[in-house]
Every structure is written in structure tokens, then in C-alpha cells.
Amino acid sequence: MTYGAKFFDASGNVTFDSSQEHTLFLLDEVSIPAASVGSGLTYSYSGAIGKKITAFIQSPYGGDYTPGEKIQRAQISYPGGVPTVSVTFEDPDALDGAGYTYPKANGYLSVFLTGASQ
């Protein structure tokens, strides 16, 4: 580190190093009911163009637990340099052995800015 700032706690541990890329800051968070996913949801962050993001999705999330339910998947892409998160169910219309579609789980998406460029 040749410039920037480091912060330490009273024990001398580094709590933040402005030169590092791996500290995360919240960019967006959204609760996603299973029924709203449909063929997929897209979240774009044009204000963060050129920056690298990360995203986590907690699924299942919320109330009841249903064995066999599908969980939501979050994928990151950068079309035109705009950080974008897509939320889908894999193969949402797959049928179980009895010929019924699987139950689907709610999710909670958290999107973070990293300190890295794309």
C-alpha cells in the first residue's frame, strides 16, 4: 500500500484498508417472492457502470420449509459494463415423479459493490 488509509481497532487489528478490493458495501437488497420470478428477473445498476459487484441470494428464505422446493439462482453479468443480476429458477417447469411441478422457494437478494473494476 503506497497510498490510501488503513483503520485499526484498539487492539491493532485492521478494520478497513482503502487500498484493498475485497471489502463489500451494500448496493441493493430485495426480497423476492417465488411467484414473482416467472421466467426470470433482472436487476441492473447503471450507477455502478465499470465496477465489479458480487451478489448473494438466500433461498429458501422466509416461513415454511418445503422439502423438494426449488431454490433461486442469482447470476452476474456486465452487459455494456452495467452490473446486472439475473434471478431465475433452473428448469422451472420440471415435473416430479408424480407429474407435478416442484414447489419454489422465496429468496432474498443482497448485492454488494466491491473495490474492483470489471
Partner: protein
């Protein structure tokens, strides 16, 4: 930005400003030596990011006790996963964790021996502005940043959510664990359905943020009976979970047994159908940074 301050790193990325909300370490829960499922109630204003310690190169009991039941045999292996996060209301959350301890099942099968515990620890992070709106107490120095609404978005006295390595964009395949169209032994395919990802660091002393797919149920035809002009078809059911286990710099999603049972239907099942493969996102922290 017409006021305030920015810190910019060598990639010309702003790392601290009044427009970015920090996530800070709120504390750890554990270690917990439970084998099986347990819950931990935590307090966090806003959604918590939960990291779980991973069983690291735990092989005690792998292979279980010789036998043919689901809790016996080679497919008994150890792993752990966060099963779900439930909002109880307000700032209260319940984290459900499942730990599959092969040594436990080995002892249960043999009727003798000693269970080697697999301690799991949860580390929780939350929004600074919601959990410490007036700042983190305890240190009378440092730096704080507020946004234009007066919300505290950075406090140098907090431990920021900081990943181990810059593996921001990692996914891991969670397979459906189904032996294709085979109607044979659904227990026999455990090993080839593991998936893994290699990281640029050792996973010793690391915790992961990852979801796990729900249980996958496999059917195995058992028998059919005829009652009052109607056929009833009975199947053995095998519920499998995807649990995490690490060795060296590789994280594995292991197929592990959960429950076994039977289920009957007035029709035959298409047992080649099954849930789809899916994926989890992954993140890693260094436990030593979050004591």
C-alpha cells in the same frame, strides 16, 4: 457528490463514500457440536449475511458402518450446510443448520464407539446504519461517515465485511443427484454426484456464505398390491441433501443422506424425473479476521 469525502483505491474505485453502506461484523455463534439439525436465534436489524465454518478434511466415520440401510455403507459422509434463514419478526432471525456427522452414524450402526464432534460456528454480518445507528461503541477515536439522510454508513471501529481473496463471482453446481434413468440402487451414485470448486487459498480457518438446495427425493420401486379393484404402488423414498466439506483449497458439495421412508401411490411414478441441477453463490471469509 457535493460534500463529504471519498476514498479511492488504485483501480479508481471509491471504497468509502457517503453513498455506500457498510456491512459490519456483528458477532459469532458457536462452536456448536450438535450432530444433526439445530437452530440459532440471532439479532440483526435488516437482513443478516451468515457465514458458516466448513468441516475441514473431516474423514472420521466416512463410510459409516457396514450394512445396507441409508445410514450405513459408503454413502455416509460428513458435511454441513445452512438450511434456511427465517425472519421471526423485528430484528429476530432463526438460522437452521444441518450437520451430517459420519462418525455419529458409524457409532449408531455399530452400537459402540465414540462420536467425534464436528463443531460449526456461524458468523453474522449486518448493515451498519441499522445495527449501530449511533456508531460502534467502545472506542473513542476513529472515523465515521454519514450520508445525506444522517444515516451512519461507515465507522472505522467496525470490522467491515471483507472477503478472503477476491473471489467475488463464484458459483458451485448443486446436482440433482439422480442416477439418470436408472431404476437401480439410488444409494449407489453418491460419489460421482459431488461437485467442487478450487479456490486460490486454503479453506482451513475459513467460513462460507452459501445456500443449499432443498432435499432431493429419489424413488425406488418396492412392490405393488391390488385392493378392491385398484392397484397401489409402493416406493422406497430416499431424501438427500447437499452439504459442504472442504479439503485443501477445494470446497465440495457432497451428497449426504437425510431420511428414508416409503410412499404409496394409486399410479406408477416416472422415477427418471427429478429436480434440476442448480447453483449456489459462494463467498469466503477468514475466521481469524472475525474473532
Amino acid at each position: 457528490m457535493t460534500y463529504g469525502m471519498r476514498f479511492t483505491n488504485s483501480s479508481n474505485i471509491t471504497t468509502i463514500s457517503d453513498n455506500q453502506k457498510a456491512y459490519v461484523y456483528l458477532g459469532k455463534y458457536g462452536p456448536n457440536n450438535t450432530s444433526g439439525e439445530y437452530t440459532v436465534d440471532i439479532t440483526c436489524a435488516g437482513f443478516p449475511m451468515v457465514f458458516m465454518s466448513v468441516p475441514y478434511n473431516v474423514t472420521e466415520g466416512d463410510g459409516g458402518h457396514p450394512g445396507s440401510g441409508i445410514y450405513y455403507g459408503a454413502y455416509i459422509r460428513s458435511g454441513a450446510y445452512v438450511r434456511r434463514i427465517e425472519h421471526l419478526g423485528g430484528s429476530s432471525w432463526r438460522i437452521s443448520v444441518a450437520v451430517i456427522n459420519a462418525s455419529y452414524w458409524k457409532v449408531a450402526g455399530a452400537g459402540t464407539g465414540t462420536v467425534s464432534p464436528i463443531p460449526t460456528t456461524l458468523r453474522v454480518f449486518g448493515r451498519l446504519d441499522l445495527n449501530h445507528p449511533s456508531g460502534i461503541s467502545g472506542n473513542p477515536y476513529g472515523m465515521r461517515v454519514w450520508d445525506s439522510t444522517g444515516a451512519l454508513v461507515f465507522d472505522s471501529n467496525g470490522r467491515m465485511l471483507r472477503l478472503a481473496g477476491n473471489t467475488y463471482d463464484t458459483e458451485l453446481l448443486l446436482k440433482k443427484d439422480y442416477p439418470g434413468t436408472s431404476t437401480g440402487d439410488p444409494r449407489a451414485d453418491y460419489n460421482s454426484y459431488d461437485t467442487s470448486v478450487s479456490l486460490p487459498f486454503s479453506l482451513s480457518g475459513k467460513s462460507i456464505c452459501a445456500t443449499s438446495r432443498s432435499l432431493v427425493r429419489h424413488y425406488e420401486a418396492s412392490h405393488a398390491e391390488y385392493f378392491d379393484g385398484t392397484w397401489e404402488y409402493t416406493y422406497n423414498t430416499y431424501d438427500w441433501a447437499s452439504a459442504y466439506w472442504a479439503n485443501g483449497s477445494t470446497l465440495y458439495s457432497r451428497k449426504v443422506p437425510h431420511t428414508i421412508g416409503t410412499e404409496s401411490f394409486p399410479y406408477t411414478l416416472n422415477i427418471s424425473s427429478a429436480a434440476s441441477d442448480t447453483y449456489t453463490r459462494l463467498a469466503f471469509i477468514d475466521d481469524s479476521q472475525f474473532p
